[in-house]
């Protein structure tokens, strides 16, 4: 293979466009692989055990579309009940599993009976089926119904189980509602992503454990609000303060020593992956695999024209906007902020002009982790619940936002987040709800293809 470089360059643009076509072709084997049988219910065999059941309404009618989740020794999985109300999920290891019925997916007027424990813990053996029964009664739902359609919290780090809005209705009201949800989601995503972008800008590190900083904020808010019993506002302030402290400590004990040892950024990136794994499973170790609700009271709903939001969401948006404005002021108008941008531009030049790079990096870690914590608290409130993998599920959206805006450019992260938020929410108008995130990730790949420096990044050679 002795390809001439010049020829390669000439072809590169063409190859780039080809990739888009190839992406479409990639889907072909799936579409043309011939008549495939529909996946039947789980059948137990030597390596598979089944958890199954049937959900019926209080009147005895089968209920389709109820979200069920199973978590335990072989990981977690989720499904929705079929047209006849039955559901089954395979597991691949013996052990105790928690089975959760997502009460928000029940139709209006149906609630769990007092006898049904939810989540329900049961022993599952390989090569056998375990039946789990949830009894429903008529009445008000046991918890407030989520008005927001965005929900990266799920039992498996993937996507929300609700399949409600699968691109059927395309009216003005729905467009407005999705746009509003998208802006809210984008603003909260921006809070979480700015730290990722600043850390990348100042140290060159792609922090794969940033999602866990978001989870940490939300879980700390849960701990102080629900377990300690502080009022929400105090709990949120404490959670954000502790998140910021965790950033300071992380830099002081882990990243600063690694930089001093001259461990390269790629090596550090793999360290963040290990850290992310340890933290994620650590959260699950202490708090289990279930959803954690930061507040349990029913939300006040505010309707403005076609858009319905909760009062909590509106307050969250105000907090997010004020915080983002403060961060902008900090970066643009204060000495430390200017120094931060100088380090982002060129650490060596900044150091030569008398800026203490390590001190700036420490501030960036503290600020970034604090913002991620705040983003986590607000996101946990917005989605009605948090869980051990909330941040992990958001991580790639944050990377998409940061890359779209231009890696390392703080304001790029804001712009990118808003775009990603809108894309995620609006795309559910045209593609199935559970493929929304795939759309955002596709944008990530397309941006790298056509404008790798992002919307606001400088055009420079990246490679």
């Amino acid at each position: 293979m002795r390809g001439a470089p010049a020829e390669g360059r000439a072809l590169s643009r063409w190859r780039g466009r080809l990739a888009v076509v190839a992406l479409a072709v990639l889907a072909l084997p799936f579409l043309t692989a011939g008549p495939a049988t529909a996946a039947g219910p789980c059948l137990p065999d030597a390596a598979t055990g089944c958890v199954e059941g049937s959900v019926r309404s209080s009147a005895g009618q089968p209920l389709p579309g109820v979200a069920m989740a199973v978590a335990g020794a072989s990981g977690s999985a989720s499904t929705t009940t079929a047209a006849d109300g039955t559901w089954s999920l395979p597991v691949t290891a013996d052990g105790k599993y928690t089975v959760t019925l997502d009460i928000t997916s029940l139709p209006p007027g149906q609630a769990l009976s007092a006898e049904s424990t939810n989540p329900h813990t049961t022993q599952v053996r390989l090569a056998s089926s375990t039946n789990v029964l949830f009894t429903l009664v008529s009445g008000a739902p046991a918890g407030p119904v989520s008005t927001a359609s965005a929900s990266p919290v799920s039992s498996d780090g993937g996507d929300v189980a609700s399949e409600s809005g699968s691109g059927s209705g395309f009216n003005g009201g729905r467009v407005a509602q999705q746009a509003a949800s998208g802006l809210v989601f984008g603003l909260l995503l921006a809070l979480a992503s700015i730290g990722l972008s600043l850390i990348y800008g100042t140290t060159g590190l792609s922090n794969f454990a940033h999602g866990e900083q978001v989870t940490l904020g939300a879980i700390l808010a849960y701990v102080f609000c629900q377990l300690v019993g502080l009022p929400l506002l105090v709990a949120a302030v404490v959670a954000v303060a502790l998140s910021a402290a965790s950033g300071w400590l992380q830099d002081a004990w882990l990243w600063h020593p690694l930089r001093r040892r001259r461990v390269g950024t790629t090596q550090q990136m793999i360290v963040t992956i290990g850290l992310s794994m340890a933290l994620q499973y650590g959260f699950q170790f202490f708090f289990g695999g279930d959803k954690l609700r930061i507040v349990t009271t029913a939300p006040d709903v505010v309707t403005m024209g076609p858009v319905t939001l909760t009062r909590m969401t509106i307050v969250s948006v105000v907090i997010a906007i004020v915080t983002l404005a403060a961060v902008s002021y900090f970066l643009l108008a204060t000495r430390v902020g200017r120094a931060t941008r100088a380090v982002s531009d060129s650490p060596a030049l900044a150091a030569a002009s008398g800026i203490s790079v390590e001190r700036i990096v420490r501030i960036v870690w503290t600020l970034g982790a604090g913002l991620a914590g705040l983003g986590g608290v607000l996101m946990g409130l917005y989605l009605n619940a948090t869980s051990w993998n909330m941040g992990g599920a958001m991580l790639l959206l944050m990377f998409s936002a940061v890359t779209l805006g231009g890696l390392g450019a703080a304001f790029g992260a804001l712009a990118g987040s808003l775009v990603i938020g809108l894309v995620v929410e609006m795309s559910s108008l045209v593609i199935p709800n559970d493929m929304r995130y795939a759309g955002a990730l596709l944008i990530l790949i397309l941006v790298l293809l056509f404008r790798p420096q992002g919307i606001l990044g400088r055009a420079e050679r990246i490679g």
Binding site: M1, G3, G8, A73, M269, G274, Q284, A438
Partner: protein
């Protein structure tokens, strides 16, 4: 504490098909990372595509060789699609793109829109695609006991899958051994060490990187087939954590070595089983539930990965001079 049972379990992990599948996936990643220096963070995506390709083609009635070819083709196309936009960019871009692409494969696989094909989040049952593989077995039906191990000859978690899986791993090792010594392999190593130097010799770095990405991805797809043969195709069990386990295995055994991935996989799964078995027996259920022991196991894996990268990036078998973990 029942040491006989614990040690039997641990020894069982050493020959388990899952261990072989992860070893094979790590061999593929070794071609990417160990030889060429590509940061592929989406190996699970290649495995999942291979598994889907094989299972869906078999369910559609295709013979086993055609189904395997579908898996290989799917992985090759996936590698091309990923490589075209990213191989000219900096290394961490490839990392972000591959991790996102693997996630897209999983999200599409578990989407209800394709339920008739992929079975959505409950996946495809093993029984629906195992038959052609089991029919190939020359072994008689029944169960064979060898030492403490007792497995069915042909069905599901069988001796047959173990024989085939480890044979494939052995072939892959031989292949990598020959590759490392070939002129082609030397160019790859040159790219890993200094891309510009290789370019100045008139080699097309881009083409070599692409060939490496396709080759390692195809090996990953084969690993995916082996991984799902004793179980079911479940998109959610083949997500990001799987990629990270493969990375831990590769760095544990030693990147850029022939037997590193195999040793890494055996040490990883046997060690994990040992730790979990001892904790299950030693820690009363009131202190730590079975689920928590499981999670503690993964926490230990995460911490191991961090410590490995910081203190012994060359792994057990590696040579520190061989390994340039800082790719450009």
């Amino acid at each position: 504490m029942d040491w006989t049972r614990i040690l039997t379990n641990v020894a069982g992990e050493i020959i388990a098909p899952t261990t072989a599948a992860y070893a094979l996936a790590a061999i593929g990643l070794n071609i990417h990372f160990g030889l060429t220096g590509l940061l592929n963070m989406g190996q699970a995506g290649f495995m999942l595509l291979g598994a889907y390709g094989f299972a869906i083609a078999t369910i559609a009635g295709w013979p086993i060789w055609a189904a395997a070819l579908v898996a290989i083709a799917a992985a090759a196309v996936f590698a091309l699609v990923l490589g075209i936009p990213t191989l000219k960019l900096r290394g961490d871009y490839l990392a972000i793109v591959t991790i996102a692409a693997a996630e897209i494969v999983r999200l599409i696989g578990r989407s209800t829109a394709l339920t008739s094909l992929t079975g959505a989040s409950s996946g495809l049952r093993g029984d629906s695609y195992k038959a052609t593989f089991q029919a190939l077995s020359p072994l008689p039906d029944g169960t064979t006991d060898i030492g403490p191990f007792s497995y069915s000859n042909n069905f599901s978690n069988s001796w047959w899958i173990r024989i085939v899986a480890w044979a494939v791993v052995a072939l892959a090792c031989l292949f990598v051994f020959l590759l490392i010594r070939s002129p082609w392999g030397r160019v790859l190593k040159g790219i890993r060490e200094d891309e510009d130097a290789v370019r100045s010799l008139g080699k097309s770095v881009y083409a070599y990187k692409m060939q490496s990405l396709v080759l390692g991805g195809v090996i990953g797809a084969l690993a995916g087939i082996i991984y799902v043969l004793p179980r079911a195709v479940q998109p959610d069990s083949m997500g990001r954590p799987m990629t990270f386990f493969v990375w831990t295995i590769l760095l544990l055994g030693g990147a850029a070595t022939v037997f590193g991935p195999v040793l890494g996989s055996i040490v990883f799964w046997a060690g994990l089983m040992l730790i979990k078995s001892v904790m299950r027996d030693g820690i009363p259920d009131t202190v730590m539930s079975t689920g928590q022991i499981e999670q503690l196991g993964w926490v230990i894996v995460g911490v191991t990965l961090m410590l490995l990268v910081i203190f012994r990036p060359q792994g057990v078998l590696g040579d520190k001079k061989e390994l340039a973990i800082n790719v450009r």
